[in-house]
Amino acid sequence: MNKAGAEADAEGLKGGDLVRRHRLSTRVWHWVNAVTVIVMLMSGLMIFNAHPRLYWGEYGANADPAWLEIGGTRAGQGMLRIGGLTIETTGVLGVWTDGEGVVRRRAFPGWATIPSKYNLADARIWHLAFAWVLALGLLLYLLWSLVNGHVRRDLHITRGEWRPSRIWHDLKEHAGLRFPTGSAALRYNILQKLAYAGVIFVLLPVMILTGLAMSPGMNASWPLLTEIWGGRQSARSIHFIAAFGLVAFAVVHILMVVLAGPINEIRSMVTGWYRLPKERAG
């Protein structure tokens, strides 16, 4: 049986049936990408620690106004400032205690960074090597998903699905944790499609393009790559915002996997086989 995704729909499958759900290309990319995104995020947080301030425009350094800043006060409190809003973050951001009990005054804590100790050179080595895996992986996956019809069959949002009443209905079902059952569970609903397409077509490409936009070498090659974001420091800010967009996606994604039945869901992304949820009684 090598039917995948919505194709299996028509065959009268019911809750409890074991079906082939995810293609090999999707499964391989999913796990490679999961590891890559974690490495990129953690090494990226370490790089941010080297200059924990964000700006808009082309330039920005300590004397220029930052829209976001993570730091510590003289009194030893950790602070996150976004625009005019200051939040005390002692213990987590700005001022925290490392594994050896030493109080550190860095933006992101050691448990969130690669390496766990401050080391910009090493973080860059990780970040810039895995950037290739991220970019080439996404490119190959996108091309392959266009060729094999994954995008058209499973991610394409039909006109009907854009109807506000339909979106509202799906929102209510999700909020009430009433997930689709039986063969309906094989198809992505509008919220899933928006989330997955948002990651694949928006967030990940934005991460890659804003990352490239910060490179002075690329800047000489393709100045537009930096200018479309409004300058290098804007690109750096958007890089950071999109990274936290990915974090938000990952949190919701993992939460949904746990709520929908983690063993079945994880098995389907490892082996491809997925057991359709039973229809609800009444």
């Binding site: 690669i114 090597a129 009430g176 002075p216 070498g217 690329m218 057991r275």
Partner: protein, 279 residues
């Protein structure tokens, strides 16, 4: 049953469905769930210390570090060797240009030259050149000049836009006559980190690039000490640490082997920063 309870009961259904599939009972499920929880926590810890351990692994490091060559070759492939870094107008300049790295030089001879406005100082050009030179600052100032307003990108993440002026490095190298074996240009500097003097190097692609200049003027003023007086390298398509300040001596070399740690620069040798800093 309220809606909330219904959803909770469904919540419980989720995993039990899967456990039935694998023939497990309720009691085992709880154990498995606990195990899973402990496993996740344990894995988190392992990942953390694991990353640090991987970071020390020579094999993985050299694999990750090999991306540097990929960056340089791919950027040069798409950039073209002579593509110019973007130049800005005066209105785009940073109100304050942050000084970084060493901002003062302790060396006695340097301090004396600084006090004399570098009138008695000259730049030494040597190594694999046909005509070793000692170029007084006045001569560097009298050569044909290039002025450029460019963005300085620090490896830490900040940027500043400033105006730089000085002779192109290629003109200075022409005066000295590069020997055919020369592949790298090394900049020996007056500032020190501890006992080690600062040094940096670039290859001929960047050394002969039109925007690569030896700047003695910044934002319309003689270069201040904090920014590298009397002379600072500008190599606009790379990050800030390549822009050596307090340049005293230029050396043409066939290889970087034998230059301090052999990786071509102070930060490269001391901290594993990459020699190619175009990214």
């Amino acid at each position: 049953m309220s809606d909330r309870n219904k959803s909770l009961s469904r919540l419980r259904e989720g995993p039990s469905l899967a456990s039935r599939a694998s023939g497990m009972g309720e009691a085992q499920l709880i154990t498995r769930r606990r195990l899973l929880g402990a496993g996740v926590l344990g894995a988190g810890g392992l990942v953390l210390s694991g990353c640090d351990r991987l970071n020390e692994s020579p094999g993985l490091r050299s694999l990750l570090e090999s991306a540097e060559g990929l960056h340089m070759r791919s950027q040069r492939l798409i950039t073209g060797r002579d593509a110019l870094a973007r130049e800005f107008s005066e209105g785009d300049m940073s109100p304050t240009f942050r000084a970084n790295g060493n901002r003062e030089v302790a060396d006695n001879a340097y301090r004396q030259h600084l006090a004399q406005g570098f009138t008695q100082w000259s730049l030494t050009v040597g190594g694999l050149v046909s005509r070793p030179l000692a170029l007084p600052l006045a001569m560097l100032m009298a050569m044909s000049q290039r002025e450029q307003i460019t963005r300085h990108d620090c490896v830490e993440g900040w940027s500043a836009i400033g105006k730089w002026q000085g002779p192109q490095l290629s003109r200075v190298l022409d005066l000295a006559g590069l020997r055919p074996q020369a592949r790298y240009i090394v900049f020996h500097c007056a500032d020190r980190f501890g006992t080690t003097p600062y040094y940096e190097s670039i290859d001929l692609v960047d050394a002969l690039h039109p925007q690569t200049i030896l700047a003695w003027r910044m934002n319309g003023q003689p270069l201040p000490e904090a920014h590298g007086a009397p002379l600072r390298l500008r190599v606009e398509r790379q990050l800030g640490y390549k822009h050596a300040k307090y340049v005293m001596r230029i050396e043409a070399r066939a290889t970087l082997a034998g230059l301090y740690g052999g990786k071509g620069g102070y930060w490269e040798d001391s901290n594993a920063y990459q020699w190619y800093a175009g990214i």
